[in-house]
Amino acid sequence: MIDIKAEESDNNTTLSIGGELTVQNASALQGIFIRSLESSSNLTINLEGVTDIDLSFLQLLCSAHRTSTDLKKNLTLSGACSEVFRDVVRSAGFLRRTGCANDRNKKCIWAEMNKATEKETN
């Protein structure tokens, strides 16, 4: 089960995605990302309600972020995200210090998350 809520105002969309973000729901999630990136130029993703997550969703997030850079749009994660999400990102080795070659705006979501975690631990 996934559970999506979108709040739109002007060009800003906050997309709250919760539930099981696993490979079974990956196609549906892909569709949601494509539509959201088409319709708004500032996309914030809130992952507070995530109960389960696997690699497929991490790949989708990464892919969506890359696409947003190409389209000169913004895609960010809201500061609040569930513990489950954090754990999987960490244990899958996605946290990083600098973004990849695609990350021309220096806004890599993983690097941002890493910065936030480092701040917390300090």
Binding site: S27, Q59, T67, V88, G93, F94, A101
Partner: protein, 716 residues
Amino acid sequence: MYLGRNEQSHREGDKLMSNPEQHKAVYREEAHELLAELETSLLELEEKPDDAELIGRIFRAMHTIKGSGAMFGFDDIAAFTHEVETVFDMVRNGLLPVTKELIDLTLSSRDYIKTLLDEPDSADKQKAGEIINSLKKLTPKTLMPDEAKNSPAFPSPKGNESGTSVTYRIRFRPPIDIFTRGINPILLINELYNLGECSITAQTDAIPRIVDIDPESCYTYWDIVLTTDLGVNAIKDVFIFIEDDSEINITVLNDSTTSETEARHKKIGEILLERGDLTEKDIKNALRKQKPVGEFLINAGMVDAGKIESALAEQKHVKEIKQREQPADTASSIRVASDKLDSLVNLVGEMVTVQARLSQLSAFRNDPALLSVAEEVERLTGELRDQTMSIRMLPIGTTFSKFKRLVRDLSKELGKQIDMTTEGAETELDKTVIEKLNDPMVHLIRNCIDHGIETPGIRSAVGKPAQGMVQLSARHSGAYVLIEIMDDGAGLDADAIRAKAVEKGMIPPDSELTEKEIYSLILAPGFSTAKKVTNVSGRGVGMDVVKRTIDNLRGSIGITSQKGTGTTITLKLPLTLAIIEGLLVQIGKEYFVLPLSAVEECVELTREDIANAHGRHLANVRGQIVPYIRLREQFMIIGRQPDIEQIVIVGVEGHRVGFVVDNVVGEHQTVIKTLGRVYKDIEGISGATILGDGTVALILDIQKLVQTAEQEEVVK
């Protein structure tokens, strides 16, 4: 590379590279140790079947025996151990429970491996087959791995599977359709966290744009730096289900055998600085303008930032591991062949003798400069002696753990329930003493189990817990170590022993003996009270052999027992066999040494005293009557005794006995030399030593002398 024990043993090994026989000897030695460890761990596992660490230890021991066995041409061992290891791998993975049967079989396997190691010709192939079959029966069919897929019965190229940590660099690229196979790659790589210290970096550069991505494909791959002591096979095991379709590259980054200089190359700046071509300030200025090489490479578009990320992670990981390894290095040990140690001890013995001579000479010359040198040499020699002796000391615990197996097997055979506990396993004893102690201890423990501890039925009937208890303990007591073997069995039956001794004509029927004397009868040759001769003990050839061995070690046996509640046998053994503190005495022109640890005091014996004793060899020491032995008569030394003689009073088995000598010279560092085969049956002399001036002094076997004198007295 050998079994990866420690760096030194590798080095030792490097010298031997040319000779495969020596190689094999090294393997045998280490394999024996591993087998001992295997046995101990298995017995422990029986008590704590859930202990994952124990299971791991057992698995690793077998893995190493297997791996190195294959390397050094012990193919039988490798093949057999592989089968057992496979089963234990399932135990390790929680697929198979630890049962008594499993432990029994594994112990038999361990014994079989030992046979293969010691006497490969006498190994019973059929028995091996039976063990393997029984083991296989324990494992559910579905769990047996496909034969073709079995990890090969030889080690990884590095073979470094026991103890030492190795850092690996792993690149894992799962098949693109991994999700559809129902495998979660994150869970898979997370298993690596269980193997050791692990840094995981995901590489995301292949992930396409959102419109192009197939959400059910895997585009991610990982760079992992892992430090583990479990070996490369453990890593491969993690990926075993998908290894055929994945790209898995495992390379060794460094292991602990790589020395510091090999592991770290100098930076160009450091070299220039060393040569004096640049000053430190120049370098700092230059560096301030320079970007880190990673940043530079990313900007130049030469590598993906993810690659740099993983390289940085690797650098950090290796650095952290290095730092942690540092303190471990200082506690390292070195493996030395025991005959090298023996010759070192011999040399120190010679040294002590020469030093005694130097001291004697310098005292004679009365030259202050020479005296001070002699004193310095004396002090250093003393230290050298103590240090050398301490190297030969081993904790007795290894012997104790061997007996655990004995107790287990015997009690099973005899249908008794026995728990063995040990105490003071860390007590150290001379290596030779420990080795020679093995057989007597085995015999004593067998006696405890066979004669001492009753069957559960009888025990319950007399109100004892059904499970019997045998306790082994060791502790220091002066220059001796006391080893106690205590059981809570039936105890010794003094009346039965007495009756038997009378029957055998060992004592006259009307003799009055204390309980202690009666107990000591069981140590006499040809004595056994067991009504039935069992497989285990009761042939009456045991206890006297035990006594002889302990006597030869200059030790003694004490027995205390209470009928119905148990028996305690105490072995009193000297700390070392090579050098003792002695008391040098003189009779006529001959010198003798008494072990100082037994000497209690020295008193004068005047002609008047002798006259007062009316021909009996008794002296009055502060109102106490002390019997004495005239060594002059004992050794038939001709010449006239001085007017005032000396009695050296020693304690023997709780009694005070005097030895009459002409003159007490003083304390002497006695390096014990054996007398050689010709003289080995001489009673009353346990060895000899060389004095400073080159004369030989005999070392007295006090116990034997006292016994002989007692017997003579009885005959009279």
